[in-house]
């Protein structure tokens, strides 16, 4: 029983990260009917930005190097011991990292929308897809060539010692650690917040209207460009947060870390019904559980095969995904 529960915990944690990324995919699809392949690179950028922020806030070497160039940042040095010393400091640092990462990745998302997708608003459906693929390839290689020349980064020792990241710290026999709780809790909280935002606020209403019919929404006085830009801020921001979690959870960031999670999260979004926020969340957690449990009880080598077979089976019986609306018939 313990073994099952332990694998359950693994699965839910993994699912939390997949769910966060899937939210990004589903939001963009809902508004633009487009699969944003560059989203996996948002995830990766989030991890890198998170690492950079971490180094900036806590690493003596980095701070000295930066302060030579930008002396007005030297007040960070004094904060360093606060951040790395106490638990409260660590928590605040983590929150800062998450916030910085989310904002910057959101901006990156808006940039890609502005330059790569907006010109293609009225082009055939496949054009933005290819553009997204191009952006993805570009970002991967950009990070490879300019930022991570040959070695994948590893989390510096100061953080590894911290209770937040140390997976064996407060280890119950089920492996429930502070970081895992944080990941799952954040995902669920963000989903609830997002759900309320879309359902209850005016901006949310604008987003729903735009996803139903762009032209009509424009006629109703909604600034469609702003709404789409906002979507491309929120979605990638969530992906960036997931990236920070991934970096913290596994302790490493590499230039192609976004690829597999991206595909799996997109699959999760489809399983749940693409375009549907709750479906993405459900799909994400389901996928995480399927992955863990199939590794635990069937075969680790075939875990991806099992995942996709289940996807196909679900789609055969519910062609619109689990929570998706039945496919719209053009009459």
């Amino acid at each position: 029983m313990n073994y099952f529960l332990a694998q359950l915990v693994n699965g839910i944690t993994l699912g939390g990260m997949y769910a966060l990324i899937a939210l990004g995919y589903t939001m963009v699809y809902g508004v633009l009917l487009m699969i944003n392949f560059a989203h996996s690179e948002m995830f990766m950028s989030g991890a890198y930005i998170g690492l950079g922020t971490l180094l900036l806030l806590s690493n003596a070497g980095t701070q000295n190097a930066i302060c030579k160039v930008l002396p007005f940042l030297s007040f960070f040095k004094s904060l360093r011991s606060f951040f790395t010393g106490s638990t409260v400091g660590l928590i605040i640092m983590f929150i800062i990292i998450l916030a910085v990462s989310a904002v910057l990745v959101g901006c990156l998302g808006m940039l890609t929308e502005r330059f790569a997708y907006r010109p293609l608003r009225h082009a055939p459906r496949l054009a933005p897809l290819i553009s997204a693929l191009g952006v993805s390839i570009f970002l991967q290689n950009a990070f490879l060539l300019w930022i991570a020349p040959n070695k994948p980064f590893n989390l510096p020792a100061v953080v590894a010692k911290a209770a937040i990241v140390d997976l064996s710290g407060k280890n119950l026999s089920l492996g429930i650690t502070p970081l895992r709780i944080i990941i799952v809790a954040t995902s669920v909280i963000l989903l609830i917040v997002l759900d309320l935002f879309i359902a209850r606020t005016r901006v949310g209403k604008a987003m729903r209207a735009t996803s139903q019919d762009q032209d009509a929404a424009g006629l109703m006085g909604i600034n469609v460009n702003s709404v789409i830009a906002l979507t491309f801020f929120i979605g990638p921001a969530l992906g960036g947060i997931a990236g920070v979690f991934s970096g913290a959870y596994y302790g490493t960031v590499t230039y192609n870390m976004g690829f597999m999670p991206g595909i799996k999260s997109f699959t999760a979004a489809v399983i749940g019904g693409i375009g549907n926020l709750r479906g993405a969340m459900l799909g994400g957690f389901m996928l995480g559980l399927i992955e863990s449990l199939s590794q635990a009880y069937i075969s680790a080598s075939y875990k991806d095969v099992i995942t996709f077979v289940i996807l196909i089976v679900i789609l055969i019986f519910r062609p619109g995904g689990l929570l998706g609306s039945s496919v719209v018939e053009k009459v």
Binding site: Y3, A6, Q7, N10, G11, T13, L14, N141, L144, L145, N150, K151, P152, N154, A157, A160, D166, L167, S168, N171, G175, S246, Y250, G251, T252, T254, Y255, N256, M257, F259, M260, E291, S292, L293, Q295, A296, S299, A300, S301, K303, D304
Partner: protein, 401 residues
């Protein structure tokens, strides 16, 4: 003509003309100076795939070339060397394209190529057809040298040597049950298969076997499973690098997941980055086998390490880099000997290429990994395999009991 037709014809005509110009002028790039420059090719995964090993090998070959260019022998023969990189991205078809590029180069004397077994095997057919020296520095699949190609060599040990040695050492250390993990690479699968055979023959039991995927970084489910079956040892076939086999990540997650037994692997784990990647506490007590004598015991080894860190500050040599260095030197020495026999200008003629292959086959010099010489199949004669253990955050050679 249709507008579309015109575009197509125009583009194709332009491309063909370009290609013809390129090839037409291909022979015109001769130099008039008195030193002859020879190219040594390096084929490896530089931008994608097993990037750590590709870039490390490249650095080693660059070091070998730099040392050779400074040497007295090169000055006497008026030869200089240059490295030409070929990025094969760990993919067999890209590697074959790289091979084609190398064999088209009239000044190239040989290639240190490739790292991944599938790439080397696919590319070897091109090298063989063109009578071109190929020395692999990281392909461990026995199939490479079983093809009967006289121009194919390797300086690293094969899986069917490293696996059983590891198994024997493991049994000798008292491990009776093992969990086998491989990273779905040909290297990993081959190593694990060879280890398993010998381990079972020695009376050990395999309590769990699984494959992880390349680029996978979530091993939590596998770790939990291993924790529940409680083996004496976890044997990992694969590389340490997080963007491919992720051995270092596995080690870290094993320890965080409460698995206290040591992890053991092959030369894919034996690198300083394994320790820094997994964290010194997690990596403590891990084992790895690696062909060749321990570096400290070899005079050339220490010099190599010193030169390496001097030329590339911040980088440390890994075992595959040492194989690449020896491979490059085998080609360099063969060039010297053929230049002496046939004259500098005949080195890349058809007769010269034959002579180069024979010279490499007859190599016999002191390299960084020990004495460098090849048997009739092209495998290295150096069959020493050392076991290393992480002690106090560093790899230490373990003497045979």
């Amino acid at each position: 003509m249709k507008k579309n037709h015109r575009i197509v014809f125009g583009v194709m005509a332009a491309l063909l003309t370009l290609a013809l110009i390129l090839t037409g002028c291909g022979s015109g790039g001769g130099s008039g100076s008195t030193t002859k420059t020879f190219n040594v090719g390096f084929g490896g995964p530089i931008t994608q795939g097993d990037v750590a090993f590709g870039q490390g090998g490249l650095r080693a070959v660059q070091l070998a070339i730099a040392n050779a260019n400074k040497s007295q022998e090169a000055k006497d023969l008026k030869i200089q060397f240059k490295v030409i990189q070929g990025d094969d991205q760990s993919l067999a078809d890209v590697g074959t394209t790289v091979a084609n590029q190398f064999v088209s180069d009239k000044s190239m004397v040989g290639a240190v190529a490739h790292f991944n077994s599938t790439v080397s095997i696919a590319a070897s057919k091109v090298y063989h057809e063109n009578n071109f020296v190929q020395i692999s520095y990281g392909s461990t699949n026995p199939a490479l040298t079983q093809q009967g190609f006289k121009n194919v060599f390797r300086t690293c040990a094969t899986d069917d040597l490293q696996g059983p040695t590891g198994a024997n050492r493991a049994t000798a250390l008292g491990f009776k049950s093992v969990a086998l993990i491989d990273d779905s690479s040909p290297y990993g699968q081959g190593l694990v298969a060879a280890f398993k055979d010998q381990f079972v023959k020695n009376g050990g039991t395999v309590v769990y076997q699984a494959s992880t995927q390349q680029k996978q970084n979530d091993f939590t489910a596998v770790v939990t499973k291993i924790a529940s079956v409680k083996p004496d040892l976890v044997y990992f076939g694969g590389t340490y690098a997080p963007d491919t086999g992720a051995g270092a990540l596995l080690c870290k997650q094993l320890k965080s997941g409460g698995v206290t037994v040591p992890m053991m692997g092959g030369d894919g784990l034996y690198a300083p980055e394994f320790i820094s990647g997994a964290g010194a506490t997690a990596a403590e007590g891990s084992y790895a086998t690696c062909p060749g004598m321990p570096v400290e015991l070899l005079p050339n080894g220490k010099q190599f390490a010193a030169d390496y860190t001097a030329m590339f500050p911040g980088q440390q040599p890994a075992p595959f880099d040492a194989y690449a260095y020896d491979a490059a030197n085998a080609i360099i020495n063969a060039t010297y000997s053929v230049a002496k026999d046939l004259g500098v200008n005949k080195v890349t003629s058809p007769a010269g290429k034959d002579a180069l292959i024979k010279a490499v086959a007859a190599s016999n010099f002191d390299g960084v990994t020990g004495k460098v010489s090849f048997d009739s199949k092209g495998d290295p004669n150096n069959k020493v395999i050392t076991l290393y253990k992480v002690v106090n955050g560093k790899w230490e050679a373990q003497a045979d009991k």
